[in-house]
């Protein structure tokens, strides 16, 4: 049973993603922003998530910044960046941190599930 951590500042979108992921048989942990993501990943979340789904733009700390911090702390869990725009990924990520993939909003769930399956069965 794979565990997925999802971070988004919209509760509605968290609910949507949680529902779809649980229907697919994933265990879901949620976070409201990048600060919570870093806390969860550095704390003793047991078992640790297998994949992180981070929204690119969140208040307090963006998904990109959280990703950067996790990598600096030596946490190498695969990360999928969820974003409304190709542009903000271009601007924020890709340049200095390795990302396993990008998912654009509105979310194409079939594509998302394929990406997660790909990352967790490696």
């Amino acid at each position: 049973m794979s565990r997925v951590l999802i971070a988004d500042d919209s509760e509605t979108i968290l609910l949507l993603m949680r529902t779809r992921l649980e229907m697919e048989g994933y265990e879901v942990v949620t976070a409201a922003d990048g600060v919570e993501v870093v806390e969860l990943m550095q704390g003793d979340t047991e078992p640790p998530p297998d994949v992180l789904l981070l929204d690119a733009m969140m208040p307090r700390k963006s998904g990109i910044d959280a990703l950067r911090e996790l990598r600096a702390a030596g946490i190498e869990t695969p990360v999928l960046i969820v974003s409304a725009h190709q542009d903000e990924m271009d601007a924020g990520a890709a340049t200095d941190v390795e990302v396993s993939g990008y998912i654009t909003k509105p979310i194409d769930f079939d594509r998302l599930f394929a990406c997660i399956a790909d990352l967790t069965t490696r």
Binding site: L16, M57, A84, H85, Q86, K105, P106, D110
Partner: protein, 393 residues
């Protein structure tokens, strides 16, 4: 001063000429008087002497005036030459002091016309050229200011489109996501409810496409439609697009299948962008074809290119319509587009994207015989696979 000399010379010449005329006239009067006396027989000897002496007098006056004239002419000539030389020197000084600033103005105008709005000229020299230079600099500064304002407006417009599309995308994600969730439990809905949810979904997808197309169009107009090519396998790319379309084609009982030639070389493309083009072509095929239609994607090797084709057995298009389909805001026949949620921008954007990759896009169709859209993308350069360096021990 030298021209003054010429003037003085000319004046002197005129005075001497006058003196000469007066003296000659007086000499003739004396001679005429002597000849009258000779004719009257009064002291003929003295009269003859007077006549001869007056003739000599005039001869000497003529000699004098010739000499004077020659001197004056020399003087005038010298004066004129000196004057002209002075004028020439003065002018060449004037011209050279104007030429540099003028040349600089011409050069600066060239740079300005070439788009260097920061170009300015040095102000100096004669007051005329200085004024000209100042006017030029003022004009250049104004142009620069306006260009700055225009750029700022352009940036604001881009930011607005970006922000608007971003803000709209979050609620749309929820609407589409929850409508899809309802559709997953279609069995629990009665047929009227299921139809309702389907309408919500169709319209949400339409809104999303509008947003994406508007965003791409704004980028394309600003010359900011960019691609990030990477080596990409053809099969995963096509399958990705097909997977995205699967639920929609299944809902319309359409058959969607793909056939990809084995061992195709990879292509150097922006994966997301080419996927976008394929999804666009597939969406068109899906929307313009009736229920139960067959949509096929094929990928084959053509010389140094890979051809990906999307064909359907839908209503097809007449030639006059086919000519314009890659233009903006061109859509299929109104009779057919009642159920079609296109923006009229998809193919125009697809064409831009394919061309950004150095590829081509085209379409074949005939009424009643379906349509085939083909994109040709250059195959990645056949680089020799990394061979381990053989090191001689």
């Amino acid at each position: 001063m030298l021209t003054g000399l010429a003037v003085v010379g000319v004046a002197r010449f005129l005075q001497q000429r006058q003196d000469f005329e007066n003296a000659t006239a007086r000499s003739y009067q004396v001679e005429i008087a002597a000849r009258n006396r000779l004719a009257a027989g009064t002291r003929p000897g003295a009269a003859r002497t007077a006549i001869v002496s007056q003739q000599h007098e005039r001869q000497s006056l003529r000699n004098d005036i010739d000499g004077e004239t020659r001197d004056t002419a020399l003087l005038v000539g010298a004066g004129l030459i000196a004057g002209l030389t002075g004028a020439a020197l003065l002018f060449s000084g004037l011209i050279s002091s104007m030429r540099r600033p003028l040349e600089e103005l011409v050069e600066a105008s060239g740079r300005l016309a070439g788009g260097d709005l920061e170009t300015r000229v040095k102000i100096g020299g004669l007051s005329e050229t200085a004024t000209l230079g100042a006017a030029f600099n003022e004009m250049a500064a104004e142009l620069q200011r306006r260009a700055g304002e225009r750029d700022q407006l352009e940036t604001m417009k881009d930011e607005f489109v970006l922000t608007a599309s971003h803000e709209l995308r979050s609620p749309l994600t929820s609407v589409q996501g929850f409508a899809e969730l309802l559709m997953l439990e279609r069995d629990k809905l009665d047929s009227k409810q299921a139809d309702t949810v389907e309408i919500i979904l169709d319209n949400t997808r339409h809104l999303v496409r509008l947003l994406n197309d508007l965003l791409d169009l704004a980028r394309s107009d600003a010359g900011r439609l960019t691609i990030k090519p990477a080596l990409t396998g053809v099969a995963p790319l096509v399958e990705d697009a097909v997977r995205t379309m699967r639920s929609q084609t299944e809902a319309a009982d359409q058959t969607l299948r793909s056939e990809i030639e084995g061992e195709l070389p990879p292509i150097n493309v922006d994966r997301d962008r080419i996927r976008q083009v394929l999804v666009n072509l597939l969406t068109n095929a899906h929307e313009y074809s009736p229920e139960g239609a067959t949509i096929e994607v094929t990928a084959v090797h053509r010389n140094t290119a890979i051809e990906i084709a999307v064909s359907d057995d839908g209503p097809g298009m007449a030639e006059d319509q086919l000519e314009h389909i890659f233009e903006r805001f061109t859509r299929g026949d109104a009779g057919l587009t009642q159920h079609v949620g296109g923006t009229g921008l998809g193919l125009a954007i697809s064409k831009s994207l394919v061309e950004l990759h150095g590829g081509r896009i085209g379409a074949d169709s005939a009424p009643g015989h379906g349509s085939t859209f083909r994109i040709l993308l250059p195959a990645a350069q056949a680089t020799a696979p990394d061979q381990p360096q053989r090191v001689e021990a």
